[in-house]
Amino acid sequence: MHQDMANVTYQDATRIYPNSDHPAVDRLNLEINDGEFMVLVGPSGCGKSTSLRMLAGLEEVNSGRILIGDRDVTDLPPKDRDIAMVFQNYALYPHMTVADNMGFALKMQNMPKAERNTRVLEAAKLLGLEDFLSRKPKALSGGQRQRVAMGRAIVRQPQVFLMDEPLSNLDAKLRVATRTQIAALQQRLGVTTVYVTHDQVEAMTMGHRVAVMKDGLLQQVDSPLELYDRPANLFVAGFIGSPAMNLIQGKQVEGGVQVGDYVVPIAREILAKANGEETLTIGIRPEAFEVAEQGIGVEVSLVEELGSDTYLYGTLSGLGDDEKFNAQQIVARISARHTGRASGTVRLNSKPELIHVFSNATQERIS
């Protein structure tokens, strides 16, 4: 429904807070395509919200630039950027109809009534709220209220939607349903959207692409599947995925990486990239593990059956009692037919192409 959609470009965009010794966002370079749903994700303090707010015009850009389409918006006031912060205002007015709740801000801008009504109706169709337009919001469910709030942003027909943790005020039940609805809606609207969340599951299920940030630095931007299958560094490998990827340190030896009494075979050309580092970290997703004759020894402490899958939790075998106490947990998801063998110590192995190798010196992926 929007005519001139737009891509968003961050060029070396940097934000340094006064009295802070390092940037909150450090030379961010990110190209968000026309109509794309981009999710910024990372732990608290990683710079994701600051990045969004720089685009919104709520944070100063200390160096670098931000463009929407061809327009340099770096120094434009928020209201001139043609963006809409979705869910900035959720409160619904009880005496006003759903239609008025959606369109009242247009009235303030003196938009003619006919155009207002058209826009509200279009938005209501998209949101499945047509039948509710003349009703008061009193009987609306949490999800419907959320959609009316979304409608407030849609009727403005901005070039870019910005959403900062929009699901944070919903209960857990609604969070799952609403994230599907927002993603579907964005798909139909085709409006460039930048979405901030701390929740990697939300990021992975919603975004066309996901930008992972940490300490103000962009770690990796990729499709959810690429992030999952080829994490660029140790941080992304550990952050994306639930349960998380098993990251196991081992000694580099001839032909592989030694973990306990087993050498995980690693291709020669990968080891060649390790610059003779003494130790490397290998990463294996829980579902990449298989119970095998040969493999990494794991002492199983807990078996959990979830539907057709079985989760094994344990620690590397061969550890002393003291070590066990602080040892990292190994998680494996295996299909249920292996359950019989999943007790005591098991050997876990993985297809070579599902083993990720990281340098401990640079934290980067080398496989």
Partner: protein
């Protein structure tokens, strides 16, 4: 096992049913007090004689708001008092419950919806806006960007003939060392939209007088903010022989209730031109003076009124040469306290002491005009109690009087955000809602197989 984080623990809170979603709490624990609209589940809970506001909200927002409210109190800015956060509330039907933020109910506070009733005077509306404008300017002065300025997020208290405004919702707030003009403008932009919505809603509910135009009210509020901000922070330039203007500026700010803590004065080398600009201004000029002199903790306009009465007393008793603090103590014991003693115990929940004193002074003035004679203060106090106070609603905590608003019944007396009972019919079918009730997986479950299927363009296999 719920966990309590609190700076001022109240052990009576511990046995409450924290494992139950707030919306399902038994009503015997709740009080239906008037309040604004909220996006979260909010309830007033009563333990003993204390009332707390409880808000169910996601953890990092609860923490954020708790800290900010503490900061606002530390910076002496009118806001509700944070009491604590309850986390780790266990599960209801397998779904973990969000934490609850507890704040203390602000006594004698009135949400705007209870102040609007058909026939509310324009004067009253403008005074409410003025109170909001002062609050917003005070927040901006300390570097607080609110992010959600609206009448629903403010509580009002009577302040002599005017109102004092308190911040209730700091969820979207941010505290900076100082605000840029852009940040302030943006906050005003949000205020404009939200206030417009607030007034349209009152209008739609028939609670706004027909001669009050929502857009005009919003513009008035923004204009008044701009004027106040200019007075508080703007630079002023004048010639070297107009030095009196420095004192004038200080006086004007005092009249507005502000003190200058730091004034920047620059002069040209020849002394021809002078430029002044307040650098640090503090609110509460009169209330701090009254507090210093009498220990009474009041709102700004109440303080102004009481200080005027104190000045009159000093003049009347011919004590201009006596130290002000000594006279103030005498006034407190000879005038203020005897007036309070006239008020029967059971009527004391109707008005705060300072507000009551102010209303007695008003009563005395009108009576004196009418009867063309001096009216002694105690006589006025007795007359006021008999003629006025007795028929006033309780405002300390007043569920019965203020609800229902405009003669309409709330769907849920504990949650005005749900609106009023006025439509009988069944809601239309909403296909979007089908299947919302029971998600297949908890929100933290990440289904990699579904993601792969989606990427390959295949329908996802049923998970599990």
């Amino acid at each position: 096992m719920p966990r309590f984080i609190s700076a001022k623990p109240d052990s009576r809170l511990i046995p409450l049913p924290w494992g139950t979603p707030l919306a399902e709490w038994p009503v015997e624990l709740l009080v239906a007090l008037p309040r604004g609209l909220s996006r979260h589940v909010v309830r007033f809970i009563q333990v003993g004689d204390t009332v707390y506001a409880a808000k169910e909200v996601i953890e990092h927002l609860a923490q954020h708001e708790y800290r900010l409210l503490q900061d606002l109190r530390r910076l002496d800015t009118p806001a509700v008092e944070p009491m604590g956060i309850i986390t780790e509330r266990g599960e209801s039907g397998g779904v973990p419950l969000d934490p609850i933020l507890i704040t203390k109910h602000l006594q004698f506070s009135l949400p705007y919806r209870s102040l609007f009733s058909p026939g509310v005077r324009q004067e009253t509306v403008l005074r409410l806006l003025d109170a909001m404008v002062v609050l917003l300017a005070r927040l901006h002065l300390i570097g607080f960007r609110w992010g959600d300025v609206s009448l629903s997020n403010i509580l009002f208290r009577r302040d002599a003939g005017a109102f004092a405004a308190y911040l209730v919702d700091a969820e979207t707030g941010e505290l900076h060392p100082s605000l840029t003009d852009g940040q302030r403008r943006d906050d005003l932009g949000i205020a404009r939209t939200n206030l417009y919505g607030d007034f349209l809603d009152l209008q739609a509910g028939g609670l706004l007088q027909s001669n009050l135009d929502p857009l005009h009210l919003v513009e008035t509020a923004i204009d008044r903010y701009d004027e106040l901000w200019q007075e508080l922070t703007g630079a002023e330039e004048f010639s070297g022989n107009e030095l009196g203007r420095i004192e004038n500026r200080v006086r004007r700010l005092n009249t507005l209730g502000f003190d200058i803590a730091e004034l920047d004065i620059q002069t040209t080398p020849d002394g021809e031109r002078i430029r002044i600009q307040p650098k640090v201004v503090d609110a509460g000029y009169h209330s701090r003076r009254l507090m210093r002199l009498t220990g009474l903790d009041t709102e700004e306009n109440q303080a102004r009124r009481l200080l005027n009465d104190l000045d009159t007393y000093r003049w009347w008793t011919n004590q201009q040469h006596v130290d002000e603090a000594v006279v103030a103590h005498e006034w407190l014991t000879e005038v203020f306290e005897p007036v309070m003693e006239v008020v029967p115990q059971d009527l004391r929940a109707k008005r705060e002491p300072a507000q009551l004193f102010h209303e007695v002074l008003d009563y005395r003035w009108y009576k004196a005009q009418r009867e063309s004679r001096e009216v002694p203060i105690i006589e006025a106090a007795k007359g006021y109690v008999h003629d006025v106070l007795r028929s006033l609603p309780d405002e300390e905590m007043s569920p019965d009087v203020i609800l229902p608003v405009g003669g309409r019944r709330l769907v849920n007396p504990y949650d005005p955000s749900q609106g009023y009972v006025d439509e009988g019919e069944e809601p239309p079918h909403d296909p979007w809602e089908d299947g919302v009730e029971e998600p297949a997986q908890p929100s933290s479950f990440f289904d990699i197989d579904a993601l792969r299927a989606k990427a390959a363009g295949r329908p996802a296999e049923p998970a599990g």
